[in-house]
Symmetry: D3
Subunit: 290 residues, 6 copies
């Protein structure tokens, strides 16, 4: 032990010492100001880092260890409280800088709207991008009570950007009738209620495609993720979500970036949601990045 | 926005403006004074209303929206604290008044004993009534430590009222040996541990029957409903309970009333139980009332 | 009991039936999107209403009952999530409408920035307005990390609007050095750490003045108000805050409006903060409105 | 360590092995069925026992140790859930049995109504009884919404039993106007808001009298006792309550019994209320019993 | 009711009056000093006892009642805080004394390291012992950061004691790569992720063997057991764990002792983990002891 | 914003970039394995860092800003779980290394036993050391249930090391009779119950002395510090503790090191204890280091 060395601090377990050497950049997007129900996901990324100390660095699912995929936990992007547009601009600029260096962006939310600028950055680099989206909610609104920048809109914006036929949603169990109808008419894929089985059917069709994976933790049943903004009964188990990540990992798609959003620690006294998120991120890292 | 209008206040999302126009009356029975273990369900109905703001008004399960079934959230029946008999009398009188107008009563407990006066009111109007009961507990005691008015007794009372052969219990995983034996001898249906599969077998036999559905939220596993008086491991998931409600909705029985009881918010820091209850009530409303 | 009547729902205990007859309008401003630390005060007003059922309608401090000051709980102003400017505009318009009818506005926050549009509305009607401000924090920033609309700025804005010599802050124990220096130079009154004693010295100087009272619940010590966004040790007790309200009530100032802000229920498992807020509001109502 | 001995279990720290040898009987009255607001005090006595392990057996205030006052923790009286009258009868019978043996009853509530049968038992034995009552609430109602057996009534009943001139209330800060007026007219002592100073003035007048002390934990400010049914801001500190107990201990009154009621652990995540109650009970025991 | 009788206190529901008459000794091992993540399991046994009051004494799974298997709840072994070696010695001595009398030891942890001295005691009496181990974690480390006495090591120690071929682990989903590799090389059985199905395959091979069953509550998914030291997503349900216990109960192995460890109540606000543990213990008792 | 820079992570607000340049080293001692009641203080230092983001860097009490006292948050000393002796050795070695460089050690506990090796390190460098100790508990035991390394012993050890006449305890309200008697006989200063007034009397006597200040957060009343291992009613307020720190800061003693121990976040849902600790540390830093 060298006492004069800076303690590495609160970073995700196994994080490598420098940005430059890392293949993957793990970063937080601590924004929750457009949520319509329960705020608090701004504290998600830091709690996930904190509890990651309870994780092993080895995945018995993938037989792989964290050191095999050098990643750097870059901390949270400093975002201006209450200013949605500026926050989104900063996120896009940040992800641009990651992609420029050929690194894999692995984001932690924050509310789901943070994925929108990430989609933009990814699409600039990968014009053939497809998005795999796991969520309880459609997130297909054009606006929420007059606000176009809302946590209810990112997937609609994504569909507008990359084409609805390139967006694949799974596990959806809540939304307005109009959202489901719009998706149907637009030719966007929505699997209601389930994730793993429909995903196994979709993945072969995406063979060889460049894919971004965005997971809203509320795709899990409230029993498995009580610490989130909008809980909705009837979701999948963490075992099924792990299997879904492993299904993508074992498929022929080329994952180029991913995020996990909407962990709001204050609603979860036992920290099971943050613990589960830390494990999901380990599996995403080990499974998506070859 | 008209500023001089009264704010509708804390009512279940989508509630219609008046009692008269409504087809369904949603009401609370905030009583918990006979429980033997953890009290607190008196606050269930109001917390369910409060969190219903997180719900969509559309059910992707039933492809139906709340406005298609005009309902009125009538608030909680004011009950005298600690006086069980008088509380039960008030509930019966209240449900009588709903039935008199040909409306559908949809109750929120409160402890399970509140269903007893509802059964009485229903039976007066529907002498051929059958009861579908989902619960972790038999609730078949004749008394609890000398008290005939106890939360452990409502189903026994129901069996006495409408005949044990007209009571169908599902998901039961806790009770005294004597209760199970009594049910067997009396010819009452009890499905232990499971709900959906045995329900699918029973529903055809109830074809054309007039049915009241009473759901104790503790039929769910504690993982899915920690916020209740008596949690008991080994229960069903919220996905299974939703499917069970949809099975009844899609069957040939004629549901004439229903309740959901035993939500005790104080034991659930994340409010997942109240959130789940609000979704179950939306599905009961959209599924049971044609 | 008339069963066909709408239950009045979740309103503050003792609220009168109509807006028109009321002398005081009690309203919520459920906004928390510019806070820099812990969000959640959007749920403050409703929780305060909910727990007000534990209050008596009589104040033994003032020997007065709620029915002597007819007030109407108008609910929460519907505000667009994440859009600060539009929210503030709506609040100002709302308070204008209250003042237009000669009624007394009694607001419940939400974050402290909600007081800013109220100050504007008050000042339009009362150009000689003075503001009494109780808070742990100076709230004198010009901006927060580049954002002029921040929960750290309302008192600075107030000073700009009505003149720093008309703003009187009490109980302040946190701020940047620059804020304290600015106040000193600008001739604004700041009492550090204490409220009651300095207030008793200031009140005679305000004799006959028209006064708005804005109270940030965090002026209380965290022991007395754990449920708030930014707790800060070394505050006053609820007994001292009650006495301070009573000191204003017994003085010769003319209170024309008031608010109580920053109650964030999720950080307070025992709901003591909301309960305390409900009592403070009762005393403000009975003490400030003659 | 003898392994074949029964573990003494969850008893208050320092409890003596047998009922017979004990000078004081410590007993629980786990009833909460008539409360109008938040139930849960039925779990108070057991939580107090559980956390008493954190206490020292020595009081540095009184320079006395628990072994100097042999007491026996007799557990909770088994009470029939939801049956108020029967519960009260059992309590009275129980306290009769303690008094019959010349022992000192030290009760733990439960809601405050449990003190009513204790008053009856005490009065039968001590016809010159005076009652010292510390509470946030008057508890002087004749009935609550039609119920004469309510947690809002025990002091009124006491006044009826032993004469209002023999009841001395301290710390009262909540009640109906009528209750305060009744007390004034009846000649009953009420000290509003404060305990210690008025108590010091009253104690000399009670010199030589036989006194029962009943303490509702909510006489403490919510900061000091969040875990109770009805919290009310503006109360005293635990330091003041300890000093008040010591003032009685050092006076010339003859305390013949006492209780501490309304600890409701579920509302206090840190268990500070139960911990404080355990210390108060130790001081009552060491201070009241010579 | 005899008032002069000692209340039996906080013992597991249905406990028999004396050690001598009991066939089974239920005892707590309140040690948590070597855990690397979240401490608190020292309070597990007492909370399990406390909540056992919510259990029925009858198992509808096994059609058996607690009185059919006389057991004595002997309380917690008093262990010296922070001294791991001495604590383990005391546990071994304690279990020796149980086995000497031919009784069945049923232990409650405490951290998993408490099972190590139990294994030693069991092996002395039953040299052909096999161990069935259900857990999220391998617990196969030789040491943890230099400490051989760590909660990460008991199964490795067990394998060293009774031979790796006699240890059968189920449900494992976390560990170092080296641990899995060691087990493979050593010929120890590890079923990853699942419990019930692999157990059904292993049990016939253990026919007639003497078996000790050790269950770490974290084999359950965090949704089913949030109240434990190290939660890990992707676990089994309480329904599956109950079925696994019943599978052992119905097999031809001879269970001679068992424990359930790692319940840490402070991380579980709803007490669902302790409630679930109490039910699991009832089923272990009724299922394992003929 | 340079995106390729490492985010400084979770350090105390205002921490300087390097160990070398710092005048003060802030470090955590995450040990809680000898506590006899509630563990969890191992997580204290990190939670204090995390919530320090809610602090201003300016003290209006001392009119001083953090940048005026360059300090480096060195993180937590990695300690071996469950091994008390080795942990203490590491802490002593660590503090030696700080003192060797002429820096001021500012420690965060962890249980109070962590102060013992710090005392040793300090005494080696400052043989004329006096200790100011603020605590609810005497901590004067020679051993606890046979263990000499216990959280109940550090002040006794200190008295043995530097002489009882050089130890000054304040705020003590709990201990064994023997401990108080020993202190009296040994000539050690103990101020019972109060801190500020007796401290003001003692400080002049310590004029010119070299002093180490050790504060157990439980010297605060449970209302002000619910998040600690052993809460004890009747303590001082955070306002009084701040004033006591300022009294030392304004006196003529020469403070050469300090610590704040026993913050256990899991027992404090609102994080008020950690927030208060972060403010106390800021004031200790700005007040003690000239």
């Amino acid at each position: 032990m060298r006492f004069d060395e800076a303690y590495s601090g609160k970073v995700f377990i196994g994080s490598h010492p420098t940005w430059e050497e890392a293949k993957v950049i793990l970063y937080g997007m601590p924004m929750d100001w457009t949520v319509s129900y329960r705020p608090g996901s701004r504290f998600g990324p830091n709690r996930i880092r904190e509890v990651s100390i309870g994780l092993e660095e080895y995945s018995p699912y993938l037989d792989r260890e964290l050191h095999e995929v050098p990643f750097f936990d870059a901390g949270d992007i400093p975002l201006p409280f209450g200013n949605a547009q500026k926050s989104l601009d900063l996120i896009e600029e940040y992800v641009d800088s990651i992609l420029e260096k050929g690194k894999f962006p692995l984001g932690m939310g924050g509310e789901h709207l943070v994925s929108w600028p990430v989609f933009r950055a990814m699409y600039k680099k990968y014009p053939d991008l497809a998005i795999i989206h796991m969520d309880a909610h459609t997130d297909l609104r054009e606006e929420y009570e007059g606000e176009p920048l809302s946590h209810s809109t990112p997937i609609r914006k994504a569909a507008g950007l990359i084409g609805p036929e390139n967006v694949f949603s799974f596990g959806i169990r809540s939304g307005m009738k109009e959202e489901f109808e719009w998706a149907k008419e637009a030719g966007m894929h929505i699997s209601k209620f389930e994730v793993l089985e429909p995903l196994k059917q979709v993945l072969p069709k995406l063979k060889g495609r460049t894919v971004y994976v965005t997971i809203d933790i509320d795709v899990l049943d409230p029993a498995h993720a009580p610490g989130t903004g909008t809980v909705d009964a009837g979701g999948i188990t963490s075992k099924e979500l792990l299997a879904s990540i492993h299904a993508i990992a074992g498929s022929d798609v080329h994952v180029v970036g991913a995020d996990l959003v909407e962990v709001a620690p204050v609603y979860d006294h036992s920290d099971q949601t943050a613990n589960t998120a830390s494990k999901l991120l380990r599996e995403m890292l080990l499974g998506f990045v070859k």
